[in-house]
């Protein structure tokens, strides 16, 4: 895990920064949002060496330089499908049976 907690120059990383402090935010927000800063994350190639949480500048895919704190090194995607949903499992079976019964009773008419 030590490899992924430190970025070297050129590594693909994600940085995190505060875009707006609570006082600078829109005045028309529900309290649970208004009391929190507006955070931002951007990915790019690290320009220097940094450990997680340390400041670093990245060059993004469009060539912009963005500075923030290192939040991930070589960030991946871990979203998936998950387990089957029991409440959905019967639907296909039920509806196919129903369609078959309907067509049998309306032969030539459907």
């Amino acid at each position: 895990m030590t490899e992924t907690s430190t970025a070297r120059p050129g590594d693909w990383v994600e940085v995190e920064c505060v875009l707006l402090e609570p006082a600078d935010r829109s005045t028309n927000l529900p309290p649970e949002t208004a009391e929190k800063p507006l955070m931002m994350w951007v990915k790019g190639f690290a320009e220097g060496q940094a450990a997680l949480g340390e400041p670093v500048t990245v060059e993004t895919m469009t060539g912009r330089k963005v500075s923030g704190r290192l939040s991930a090194v070589n960030p991946g995607y871990f979203h998936t499908f998950g387990e089957p949903i029991p409440e959905l499992q019967h639907i296909g079976k039920d509806l196919r049976a129903r369609l078959k019964a309907y067509r049998a009773s309306h032969e030539g008419g459907a």
Binding site: L19, L20, A23, D24, R25, S26, T27, N28, L29, P30, E32, T33, K36, P37, L38, M39, M40, W41, V42, K43, G44, T60, M61, T62, G63, R64, Y77, H79, T80, F81, G82, E83, P84, I85, E87, L88, I91, G92, D94, L95, R96, R98, L99, A101, Y102, R103, H106, A110
Partner: protein, 472 residues
């Protein structure tokens, strides 16, 4: 007190003018009215030009499929003589997997022609993928601003997937926590980069959807001998409905009823850090549908090209659980595995078709791609993790953010009519509220409001009278 947010927003007009490549002030007629058709045609492209742009872009001409199994199932729960034929335009077949490619293809074409180095769009939806894909094909740089996470850096799997696909196409994705200031940062980035604003709500984008209406009218005429009696659109910001309806009309399908459909998310606040991950839908819901229809000019362009009240005949809402049920039914019965949000209109179509005569034809005008994260299983598993109860039962017991009730039987699916007249009144109230205080609408303003709400000048005058009486 003026915040940093207010300061940028005050310069928004000037920045957007540069970034849109069009001066919207030329269309303004009064503090209330503007020349909508003038704005829509100012880009100078004919409908055939747009078809040509999209053909080159690899967009459009998606399959129109008749759903024989779903139709028969609906007939099995309909009264005798009822149960309309159901069709779907499989928009997932577009390059980036949704009808949004139609919107993006025109915007990116314009950006390229006008010599911009890159494009920026603010979207957590399929539009980001569409812009990123078209930008990649045209060698333009691309930044997508996305509302991704709550304050704990947790995001709906569907949005996380949309970030992934944008990055796969080479876009820079700027991910943010919950809040309308997404648009503030987009404006800041436009100012900083000089890129083109590929707004969802520009006339370029909405004109790009007109080809969908055109294809539906033509293909249904070939298949059934006439344009469809009903077209049903999943409704969020209103561009889908507006563009499709305009295309149908331009193709001569003036009798086709335009129905919008959204997932009912009433009770959830769109800017709430707590509610953000309890929506189970990222788009196609009333949280966008109602505010944008009743005040379109809240968008990131001075005048929104998406003005659905001009076109809709009915606005239906369905529950979260009903959409997940129909998404599963579509996979198992029609071999169409598609994203849940795009099946919102399909869900309403099941209910609508049941009450229409057998001769009627209902076209569901979109589907969207599916996959890891962007899938009904992923959204339901995530809902459970967020503490939302998921159970089988009567969909009327569904409470957004608290309990998702999956119907037990097809006949439980019952779309609800949202009061379109109420939306019209709300729109007129907002239009007047946004004019200077004490401004008296002229006859031309009344005529504009009548066109913008698809009513009559008399009806608008009556609404204005009611509003004045309420305030007095």
């Amino acid at each position: 007190m003026a915040t940093k947010f207010d300061a940028i927003m005050a310069r928004r007009g000037e920045i957007m003018r540069q970034a849109l490549g069009m001066d919207y002030s030329q269309f303004e007629q009064s503090p209330v009215a503007f020349d909508y058709e003038g704005m829509m045609s100012a880009h100078g492209y004919s409908l055939q030009d747009i078809v040509d742009i999209q053909t080159k872009a690899g967009v459009g001409n998606t399959p129109l499929l008749e759903l024989h199994n779903l139709t028969d199932l609906v007939r099995s729960v309909s009264e005798p003589g009822k149960g309309a034929r159901i069709f779907v335009k499989d928009e997932a077949a577009n390059l980036a997997g949704a009808f949004k490619d139609r919107r993006a293809s025109v915007s990116i074409h314009v950006a390229k022609e006008k010599g911009y180095e890159g494009v920026i769009a603010a979207t957590s939806g399929n539009y980001g993928a569409a812009v990123a894909s078209q930008a990649a094909r045209n060698g333009l740089k691309c930044i997508i601003c996305q509302e991704t996470y709550d304050s704990r850096k947790v995001g709906q799997p569907e949005i996380v997937e949309k970030a992934r696909i944008c990055e796969a196409f080479g876009a820079e994705v700027v991910q943010m926590t919950v809040g309308p200031e997404l648009f503030f940062h987009m404006v800041e980035l436009l100012d900083q980069t000089g890129y083109f604003a590929a707004s969802l709500y520009s006339s370029f984008g909405v004109s790009g959807i007109e080809t969908l209406g055109l294809e539906i009218a033509r293909e249904m005429t070939e298949l059934t001998g006439a344009p469809p009696t009903h077209v049903i659109c999943t409704h969020a910001g209103g561009g889908n409905t507006t563009g499709t309806a305009r295309g149908l009309k331009r193709a001569g399908a003036t009798d086709t009823q335009i129905v919008s459909a959204s997932v009912d998310l009433s009770g959830l606040h769109m800017a709430s850090d707590n509610d953000f991950n309890r929506k189970s839908f990222t788009t196609g819901h009333t949280g966008f549908g109602v505010p944008f229809a009743t005040w379109p000019d809240r968008a990131d362009v001075p005048r929104n090209a998406a003005r659905p009240l001009r076109y809709i005949d009915r606005y239906l809402t369905v529950t979260q659980g009903e959409v997940f049920y129909v998404t599963e039914a579509l996979v198992k019965l029609e071999g169409l595995e598609r994203g849940p949000a795009g099946n919102t209109a399909m869900t309403a179509a099941v209910s609508l078709a049941r009450d229409l005569p057998r001769e009627a034809t209902v076209v569901v005008q979109e589907t969207e791609y599916t996959g890891a994260g962007k899938h009904h299983w992923a959204q339901l598993n995530f809902a459970k993790q967020m503490g939302v109860e998921v159970r089988a039962g009567d969909p009327r017991d569904n409470v957004p953010g608290t309990v998702i009730v999956i119907p037990e039987r097809l006949e439980q699916i019952q779309a609800q009519d949202f009061d379109v007249d109420r939306m019209r009144r709300s729109y007129v109230r907002n239009a007047l509220k946004n004019a200077p205080e004490g401004y008296q609408p002229s006859d031309d303003d009344v005529a504009f409001l009548a066109a913008d709400t698809n009513t009559t000048p008399e009806a608008v005058t009556a609404m204005i009278g009611e509003l004045a009486a309420k305030e007095a």
